[in-house]
Every structure is written in C-alpha cells, then in structure tokens.
C-alpha cells in the first residue's frame, strides 16, 4: 500500500472511532438534559454519568488525533481549510470548549446546575452539525481560490440542500447511536426504567437515520455527480450497512441482545462511513487536494507510520484496561463500585 493510502486509512479509522464515541457522548448530553427537564432525571442521569465521567477526555483525544494526523500526513489541508475556515472553525472550537469544560464544571463541581447541563446538552447537537459541514465542504463548490487566498463561500453553504441534509443526518445519527448504546448500557446495569426510555428513543430515531441517508445520497447526486457515481460502484458497502441496520432495529424492537444490536449499529456506520470515504478518494478537498498530490514527504510519512504503530501498541492495552474497568465490569456498571 502506498503511504498516502495508509495515511488516509488510519485517519479515517480514527475519525470513525470519534464518530462512535463522540456520538455516544453528544447524544448522552442531550438525553441527560432531556431527562432533567422532563423530570425523569433520577432514572437516567446516574447511568449516563457513570459511563461518561471516566471517558469524556478520551473522546476528545480521538478528535485531536484526527486533525493533528490530517495536517501531519497532508500538510496542504492546513493551508486550504485553514485559510478558508477560520470563522466556522472557530465556532466549532468554541462549542467544543464550552461543552468539555461545562461538563467538568457540572459533573465535578455544581451537580445540580441546570444552565451547565443545558450548555452541555445543546452543544451536543450543535457540534456534530458544525463538524459535519467540513465534510460537506470537502465535496467542492464552497471554497474558491482567488489571488487574495482561499475564500469560503458561506452563502452557498447555507443555501445548499445538500449541506442541510448532511447536518440532518449528523444529528439523527448521533441520537440513534447514543440511544442504542445507552440501551445496552442500561441493560447491563439492570436498570429497567432507563432501558425502557432509551429503547424507545433508539426505535424512534432509527427510521430517520435511513431517511436522512437517502436525502444525502440524493443531494450528492445533484452536487457532485462524480462522487455519486463512485459511491454507486461501491453499492455493496451501503447495502451491507442497510442490512446491519435492519438487524439492529429488529433486535432492539424485539427487546433482546442489546449488545449485539449495538455492534450491528457500529457495523452499519462502519460500512456507510467507509463506503463514503472510499468513494470520496482520491480527493480530500474537491478539486484542490488529492491524497497523492498533498501527501507529506516520504521520510516524514514513514516516521509517522512507525510512530503510529508503536503508539497503538501502547494504546490498545490501555484502552482495553479502561473498557474492562468501566464498561465490562458488571459491578461498576450497576453502581456498586
């Protein structure tokens, strides 16, 4: 495999990781806030906080890893995205900053502060909306290279149906992934009340994820036909994604094997995400940046890959330990530790 393909695959894998763990976190924030205002807090908030407290920082690192790696492997992305996206990027940073810190303030500091929880819940939906627009922009048509530098065509973005369909997909996916996971977590905790609520949410948000995906496909056809054609060539990946979705929805509906159901949800998004990513290539930013044209010099690229492998040897056992202590330890999940 060539350096640029290894690089982009690694990054995409981490972005997928972020997609899953961050969706759980973002959705959980929303559900926690919902539970407070609908006065069902006593049921759900303990469950959510028991899962989130030890892992939220890890979630953030997935994201940092992705963008540092992207700029490392493909330095040109820094130039194009950097120049054009100062304002939207700043807004996203500010949302992330508010979310992370107010989570800590609320969780470790003032436990019953509704304002903190509101900031935490609202940003959980705004951040995926903001971040997903960078994928929209990568389809081309929203940046223009002029003699003054790269310019962001904000008007185009805000009036584009494609862009809004991506935002819709991002938000419903977050709620669906999160609900599917929390159903499983509540099940492990033998917390029947929370499980019932989360299961209802999961079912409620399941159909919209498919509806929104179809909208995105339709939007893509109008916006970037080339990409749409390449996506059709990979139809089997999207087909598998749909299949896993159906299994997941069936399992949750019939109220059994929530763990398997969540794995099915992960597979659903895995195939959709990689199908999308693979058909996006060779472009990182259409039509300015391709992976071949922007990859870092070979010495640095090789060094990054070596460091990556060594890093994984360190991380995988550590992540395993974290999961064993907080996810798979039945006593902890049930709140007995």
């Amino acid at each position: 495999m060539s350096l640029e393909v290894i690089g982009i695959s690694v990054l995409w894998l981490f972005l997928y990781g972020y997609l899953i763990v961050a969706s759980i976190d973002f959705g959980a924030g929303f559900f926690a806030y919902y539970a407070r205002v609908s006065k069902r807090e006593h049921i759900m908030s303990k469950l959510i906080s028991r899962y989130l407290s030890p892992v939220w920082e890890v979630t953030n690192v997935f994201f940092v890893f992705f963008f540092v790696g992207l700029v490392g492997f493909f330095p040109d992305t820094a130039y194009y995205y950097g120049t054009a996206l100062l304002l939207p990027g700043s807004v996203a940073i500010i949302l992330i900053a508010i979310r992370g810190s107010f989570y800590a303030f609320g969780n470790y500091g003032s436990k019953d502060n509704t304002v903190y929880l509101f900031l935490y819940g609202a940003t959980g939906l705004l951040i995926p909306a903001a971040l997903s627009t960078s994928l929209t922009i990568s389809e081309g048509g929203y940046l223009e290279e002029t003699s003054e530098g790269v310019v962001f065509l904000a008007g185009e973005l805000f009036t584009s149906p494609y862009s809004w369909s991506v935002v819709a997909l991002a938000i419903v996916s977050v709620l669906f992934i999160s609900a599917a996971f929390l159903t499983y977590y509540a099940d492990r905790a033998e917390d029947v009340d929370s499980r019932a609520i989360m299961r209802k949410f999961a079912l409620w948000w399941s159909a919209p994820t498919i509806g929104a995906s179809l909208l995105v496909f339709a939007g893509l056809r109008d916006h970037n036909v080339e990409h749409f054609r390449r996506a059709l060539d990979l139809w089997w990946m999207f087909g598998l994604s749909l299949l896993f979705f159906l299994i997941a929805a069936f399992l949750i509906y019939s109220g059994k094997r929530y763990g398997t159901a969540f794995i099915m949800v992960m597979l659903q998004f895995f195939f959709a995400f990689f199908g999308y990513g693979a058909s996006h290539l060779p472009y990182i930013l259409y039509p300015y940046i391709t992976i071949e044209g922007s990859v870092v010099n070979e010495t640095m690229g090789t060094a990054l890959v070596i460091v990556f492998i060594l890093g994984l040897c360190l991380l995988i056992p550590s992540l395993y330990l974290l999961m064993r202590l907080f996810l798979f330890d039945a006593d902890y999940v049930k709140g007995k530790k």
Partner: protein, 447 residues
C-alpha cells in the same frame, strides 16, 4: 478604535490563546507529580492526611485539566487556522513531535480517567498509586513534545530549503535541535515549580486564615515547600543554561533582553531601568561583568550585541522587562522556599511566622506570572521570525479577513472559562473543608 491589521490581530489571538492555555498546561504538567508524591507518602507512612491531600488535589485537577484540554484543542486547530502557510511548510519537518504528542495525551487521558474513579477499588493501595506513573509520564512527555516544536521555531534544522519547499528532511534532527535541551529542561522544571508553589500558597493561605493547629495544612505546606525549593533550584539552573544557549545560538534574543548593543567581553548586566529612543539607558542597576558570566561562566566571554543585526531583524526591546521580572520572581521564590525549609529544620525559628506565610501565598501567583513572562520573552524575543531566519510572522499569518471577529469570540470564551473555572473550584472546596472530609473518609484518623 485601535486600527489593527490582520497580522497583528492574528498574533494577538495566538498570544491570548497560548497565554490562557499555558496556565492550565503548567498546572497539568506539574500537579500529577505532586499528587504522586502525596499519595506515595500517604501509603508509605499510613497517614490519612497525605492520602486526603492527594485526593483533594486530584479533585481540583479534574477541573483545570478540562480547561487545559479544551484550550489545547483550540491551539491545535488555531495553528492551522491562523498560521496556514507556516503549518504547510513546517508540517513537512516537524509533524512528528506534534503527532507523538497526541499519543502522550491519549495515554494520559486514559489513565487519568481510570485513576480518578478507582480510589477505593483496589485492595492493595499501591496498585492505585501505580496509575500515577502513566499520568506523570504522559503529562511530561506531552510537555516535552510540544516544547520541541517551539524549540524548532527558534533554531530550525533537519531540512534544506529549495525554492521555498523543504527537502532532505530529517525529522529527528528537527526535533532534537540546539534549543531543545535547555527549553525542555526549563519548561518542565518551571511547571513543577509553579505547581508546587501554587499548592503551597493554598496551604499557607488556609493556615493564615484560620489560626490554631492544622496538621493537615501544615503537612501540605511542608511537603510542597520542600518540593518547591528543589524545583525552583532546578528552574534557575535550567534558566542559566538557557541563557548560555542563547548566547551561543540565538544571540539577538539575549542581547534584546539585556539591552546589550556592542559586542564585547566583560559585559555588564543591566537590571531594570529605562531606555529612550536613542537607546540611552538610565535608572538601571548595573552589575559589572555579570552578563559575560551569565553567557559563558567567565568574565572574558564575548557577548554579541544587537548592533551586529540589521535593524529590522531585532526583537522589540521591551522583552527586557519580561526577562527581568521572570528572573526576579525566580530569585524571590528561591529565597522564600529556602527560608521556610531552613526554619523548619532549625527548632529556634517558627516557619509558620505570619510574614513568611504571606510571602508563600504570594509565591504561587508570582510563579505563574513568571511562566507567562518567560513565554512572552521567548516568543516576542524571536520576532520578527516565526521560523528563525526562514519565515517571518507576516508571511505566515492567515489572509482571512475575519480574524477580528474570531479574536472577539475567543476573548469572550476565555473570560467565561476563566470565571467559571475559579468559581467552581472555590465552591468545590468551600462546600467540603478538609477537616470535615478527613473525619468522613477516615473516621478517628484511621485508614
């Protein structure tokens, strides 16, 4: 309204983000070491006081870590957003330590999560203590990696420039450039020092506020002051080595800080004072020959003066004050910590003397100020370069016209984060005084 151009705004925004982040970064590197020491003593001596110290420090730490993480994420993204041309060029050469830093964060974040939620989960307390090690290593390594990037900006090497493109790249040579050893040494020791002094300041404040016997706070004070003395001495040593490094590799930075214009041996050290537009210095304290000594351990050392450099490549002269204030705070801290430790070993003196305690209370915030002065000196002293000798700040800054709005947004963000961070911390500890928690967790003082 001030009329600020894009480059100035970009610099101001970078400066604001870094100066805010570095408060939390310094604490983030240093506090884990202090927690590890306290927990070690607690287990070793079977002393609930130290165990409680570790626990309470760790609890406050969760808040500052959160702000550190989010402001760090902001810098990481802002580097690309504000300095796109710099990242496009420098990324080819220096991406390696930036990438390794994310692994260090990752490692630290995982074990911090485990550490904070497993206080009572292991029968053997040493197992919980062991979790400190990856946290300390992760925090120190992330400080190390990011500092190598900053060192690279001061003494870039490990590549050749061919038509504005970097070629013949050697990532390890770039990382281990001439500025790396002294910078890493100084940044790490000053972080440890500042964290120890801030914790000491809190303990001293508590003893001052409530009279009487406070075994818990007195133990905390003694522990943090001994650590503070050692780390302050290390910081001063590292600072001295940094000055020697500058004299050799980046003489214009040292010369700007010392208002040293003519290249000469037996050069005087100028402390404080004022300078006019003709570079006439007045009101200064002049220490004969001391600059030569600082630069090379001998009065005969020739120190290169600013006149050797073209006017437009000289750093602003006001960095002199930042440098002098940093060094003065270093000396002050060495003095205070030295006196305290001395008094606590000589029975005749009372180390809990009111004035000494007040001096200690001051040393915490002062140390943090010294960190800020140090960075201001190190960064502004590199001007006009972003990559010394290769790319200037003007060439590197973004061409975007929205920097002004972004600057306003971020200032508001830092104000909000700063305000709530302090508020939450105060509330957290006021609601649960140490004495009450001690009784609750360790009834009758037993483990």
């Amino acid at each position: 309204m001030l009329d600020l151009d894009g480059v100035t705004l970009t610099r101001l925004l970078t400066a604001a983000t870094l100066m805010f982040h570095v408060i939390f970064a310094t604490i983030g590197v240093g506090i884990p070491v202090m927690i590890a020491i306290a927990e070690f003593l607690g287990i070793k001596k079977n002393d609930p006081h130290y165990l409680l110290l570790a626990r309470r420090w760790a609890r406050g730490f969760t808040i500052t870590v959160a702000v550190g993480v989010v402001t760090g994420t902001a810098i990481g993204l802002q580097l690309s957003l504000l300095w796109p041309s710099f990242m496009q060029l420098a990324g080819q050469v220096i991406a390696l330590p930036l990438f390794m830093e994310t692994f260090a964060f990752f490692f630290e974040a995982i074990f911090l999560g485990i550490y904070l939620y497993t206080w009572d989960r292991f029968k053997n307390r040493w197992l919980h203590w062991l979790l400190n090690i990856p946290i300390v290593i992760g925090a120190t390594l992330s400080g190390f990696f990011i500092t190598t990037v900053n060192a690279f900006m001061n003494t870039p090497q490990g590549f050749d420039l061919l038509d504005g493109e970097a070629v013949n790249i050697d990532p390890l040579a770039a990382m281990f450039n001439p500025a790396t050893p002294t910078k890493v040494f100084h940044v790490l020791t000053s972080s440890y020092m500042t964290s120890a002094l801030i914790l000491a300041a809190i303990a001293a404040f508590m003893i001052l506020k409530k009279k009487g016997s406070f075994t818990y706070h007195k133990k905390a004070l003694k522990l943090t002051m001994i650590a503070g003395l050692i780390f302050t001495a290390g910081t001063a040593l590292a600072g001295d080595l940094s000055a020697k490094f500058l004299a050799k590799e980046q003489p214009e930075k040292l010369a700007a800080a010392e208002w040293h214009f003519e290249t000469e041996s037996n050069a005087d050290l100028i402390v404080f004072g004022t300078i006019d537009e003709n570079n006439e210095i007045s009101n200064e304290i002049r220490i004969p020959g001391a600059l030569s000594f600082l630069a090379g351990n001998s009065f005969d050392t020739e120190v290169i003066g600013l006149n050797e450099f073209p006017e437009e490549e000289r750093p602003p002269l006001w960095v002199h004050y930042a440098f002098d204030l940093m060094v003065s705070i270093g000396m002050y801290s060495l003095f205070i910590a030295g006196i305290f430790v001395l008094f606590s070993y000589i029975k005749r003196f009372n180390e809990h003397n009111k004035f000494l305690l007040m001096g200690i209370v001051a040393s915490g915030p002062l140390a943090m100020l010294a960190v800020e002065f140090g960075w201001v000196y190190a960064e502004v002293g590199r001007q006009p370069w972003i990559l010394r000798g290769i790319m200037t700040v003007d060439e590197a800054a973004t061409t975007s016209t929205s920097v002004g709005i972004a600057f306003g947004l971020f200032l508001a963000l830092y104000a909000v984060l700063g305000f709530f961070c302090v508020r939450v911390l105060l509330k957290m500890f006021r609601n649960k005084p140490a004495e009450a928690e001690l009784e609750q967790r360790f009834p009758g003082g037993k483990l």
